[in-house]
Amino acid sequence: MIPVPLRAVAAHLRLGPMPWLLALAVTALGMSLLLPAGHGLVELCGRLSLALLADPAARALLLPAPGLLAGGWVLMVLAMMPPLVSAPLAHLWQTTAHAGRWAAVAPFALAYLAVWSLAGLVLLPLALLLASGPAALPLLLGAALIWSASPTAQAARNRCHRMRWLPAGRIRAARAALDYGLAHGGACLGACWPWMLVPLAVQGGHGAAMVLVAVFLLVERAMPATPALWRVPPGIVALYGLAPSRSRHLTGLRRF
């Protein structure tokens, strides 16, 4: 007998564009794992320092082509983020006329991807510098959990639930979809950015770490909006609901 929460999860994963987005994520994950050995983001993380980056010779020796680096980052985003935009994509699809659906979805998706891609300009160097040594993973994981618990992250998650309805007119609608994608991407970035550093600190099992973080972010995204206060990270509360009921008292989260 499948536990009820898992049945509920399975049923909701079949709704709307989620199956397609999961397929996209799995494809991107597979491609990111196929990147040339020694040139992946993970191999680089922690091997750099500000001093090395300042030295052109060392930089040329260590850094792969910028295109490869950027490609690795975009693949990582595509492997982790698509399921998070299932709700706004479904909303856009359902509230746009048949003839204009792709013209609405495409600008939204491109704008969303652009936000995350540009974020790589900051997050990638940060990861290359920080994700090193045995302490990197617990430190980055702890920082991400603290971020998730913060009012700032909750406010960003709340903005992820904001919906927009596109106006009439192809150009007006496309511009509004672009704005929507930028705003949604900004909110998503605000909620999730420290989590993107975590898989980069995992040298063995980087792909598995990406999947685990993506699942965590998806359940945080699925939690309803709530006042922006310090609180137990919603992803922890949500995953806790999947635990067998007899073990729930162990964490002390559920007081019932």
Binding site: V4, P5, R7, A8, V9, A10, A11, H12, R14, L15, H91, Q94, T95, T96, A97, H98, N158, R159, C160, H161, R162, M163, R164, W165, L166, P167, A168, G169, R172, V219, A222, M223, P224, A225, T226, P227, A228, L229, R231, V232, P234, V237, A238, L239, G241, L253, R254, R255, F256
Partner: protein, 487 residues
């Protein structure tokens, strides 16, 4: 175990035994601490709570008197509106409330062992005074002279349901008597609402939720000078009449499901409920139980028993007899799809003066709607108000369509009660500020317009106004037109 739920008007009232025990139990629950899971305050906060407002009004002594934040996150602010969990969530909520009251009543000296929530049958066929708020909710005292906890509420003096200067509309059984799927396709009407996750304000209001549910809430609470408790989801369950109102709404659903012509949703996504946040209710022992929508269906542990599913429900009686339980359960069926035909091009602001807009739709869509091909069911047309926002706790909007021609007048499409407007518009709380969205069936009116002037539907003129003397603005992000594809 609770007994059979009965019509307040058919008890030996006013102040029948059932209502006297209700009042005593409410008083007992009001005497419990706000953090007590069986207290009146705790139970009301499960529906919705505005903590600063509750403290300011003296409803609770302080924010610190409430349970810890972690517990609040799990159980407060759960009410489901504008989505397909509206009916099952409120059924589970009523069951938990009834069980807690019953646990207290049945242990009192002389207390009945089969007490059940009465319902307010405001559209009763047999009671011409059904629309009047039952006397027990108006009397300042109980028969023994003590203060009446059922009337110590904020209601703006409302006593009878029906048209008011600020609400020139009425309640009806329209949701009961039309042929509707349970689940709405986007932009259309369903009996129970559109697909949603855990949503205190989902994407589209269901038919029975719009009328009579929302209308009764706003008519009882009133909107001026300040919205009464029943008009605001964060206060509504503090008014003892809330529970009698929802008991009747729940009976409407039970009656609707007893009609073999209707199709009840039973898909896995509906039956298993939302996730990660689930529906959680306290029990009389002070613990908590998660419940699933599937458990509220006929034959399930949360299915109630009513004395009548026919008086005032719009559902004809198939078989004469005594107490009736819910009848035929139909397997789930997905309704046909829908398509957006067109929308206006800019948001509207409705203040003291009306606001007008136009929706352009392709000529072919207008022609196809006016003369649908084929022999199947005719498609229906829905006017949508999407992203309706305002600062007031509740509001009222009148929606008119302009008839074609130079002297074309206005025809009323609907008067809508915006229950929970302020809460749905806030970006600070649990709604993300998406506002309210609703669909109005304008099929007949649209055909009339198209027949009066072929081509008139291609540029449909819509006018929105706030009746009465509104002091606050209401904005509408988009006005649009959807066609329902009959499945």
């Amino acid at each position: 175990m609770a007994g059979t739920r009965k019509d307040i008007a058919k008890l030996n009232g006013p102040w029948s035994d059932e209502m006297l025990w209700y009042a005593r139990a409410v008083r007992a629950l009001q005497g419990r601490a706000p953090a007590d899971r069986t207290s009146w305050w705790y139970l009301a906060a499960i529906h919705g709570i505005d903590i600063p407002g509750w403290v300011q009004q003296g409803i609770v002594p302080s924010a610190g008197s409430l349970p810890p934040q972690g517990e609040q996150d799990l159980i407060f602010n759960q009410c489901q509106h504008a989505g397909w969990f509206f009916l099952p969530w409120h059924r589970g909520y009523l069951a938990a409330f009834e069980a807690i009251l019953d646990a207290w009543i049945s242990t009192q000296p002389g207390g009945p062992q089969d007490w059940a929530l009465p319902y307010w049958n405001y559209l009763s066929d047999s009671n011409p005074n059904g629309r009047a708020i039952p006397q027990e909710f108006l009397d300042p005292t109980l028969p023994d002279g003590s203060a009446n906890p059922l009337s110590q509420v904020r209601r703006n003096g409302m006593q009878v349901l029906g048209p008011q200067p600020w609400f020139p509309g009425d309640i009806s059984l329209s949701a009961q008597t039309r042929s509707l799927p349970f689940t709405a396709a986007p932009g259309t009407e369903g009996y129970g609402g559109a697909i949603s996750g855990f949503a205190q304000q989902g994407s589209l209001t269901g038919a029975v939720e719009g009328d009579p549910h929302n209308r009764v809430h706003v008519m009882v609470g009133g909107v001026q000078p300040v919205a009464g408790w029943m008009s605001d989801p964060d206060y509504a369950a503090l008014d003892p009449i809330f529970w009698m109102h929802h008991c009747n709404i729940d009976r409407f659903w039970a009656a609707w499901m007893s009609d073999p012509a209707n199709q009840q949703e039973a898909s896995g996504a509906w039956s298993n409920g939302p996730f990660p946040r689930q529906f959680l209710m306290p029990n009389p022992a002070g613990g908590g139980d998660v419940f699933l929508p599937g458990q509220t269906l006929p034959g399930g542990p949360l299915a109630p028993v009513y004395d009548s599913l026919h008086d005032g429900t719009g559902i004809a009686q198939a078989v004469a007899g005594g107490p009736v339980t819910e009848g035929a359960m139909i397997t789930s069926r997905q309704a046909g799809g829908s398509a957006l035909l067109g929308s206006n091009s800019a948001p509207l602001t409705v203040a003291a003066t009306p606001a007008a807009t136009e929706i352009a739709i392709p000529a072919r869509a207008a022609t196809e709607f006016a003369a649908p091909p084929g022999l199947g069911p005719e498609p229906r047309l829905y006017l949508n108000l999407e992203g309706v926002r305002g600062a007031a706790a509740a509001g009222v909007l009148q929606v008119h369509l302009r008839l074609p021609g130079e002297g074309g007048g206005l025809r009323l499409a609907d008067t809508v009660a915006l229950f929970g407007l302020g809460k749905a518009s806030s970006t600070e709380g649990v709604h993300a500020g998406n506002g309210l969205s609703l669909a109005i069936d304008i099929t007949d009116l649209a055909r009339e317009i198209q027949m009066a002037a072929p081509g008139a539907l291609e540029r449909l003129s819509v006018e929105l106004s706030q009746p009465g003397a509104p002091e606050t603005e209401i904005t509408v992000e988009r006005v649009s037109l959807y066609r329902q594809e009959m499945g």
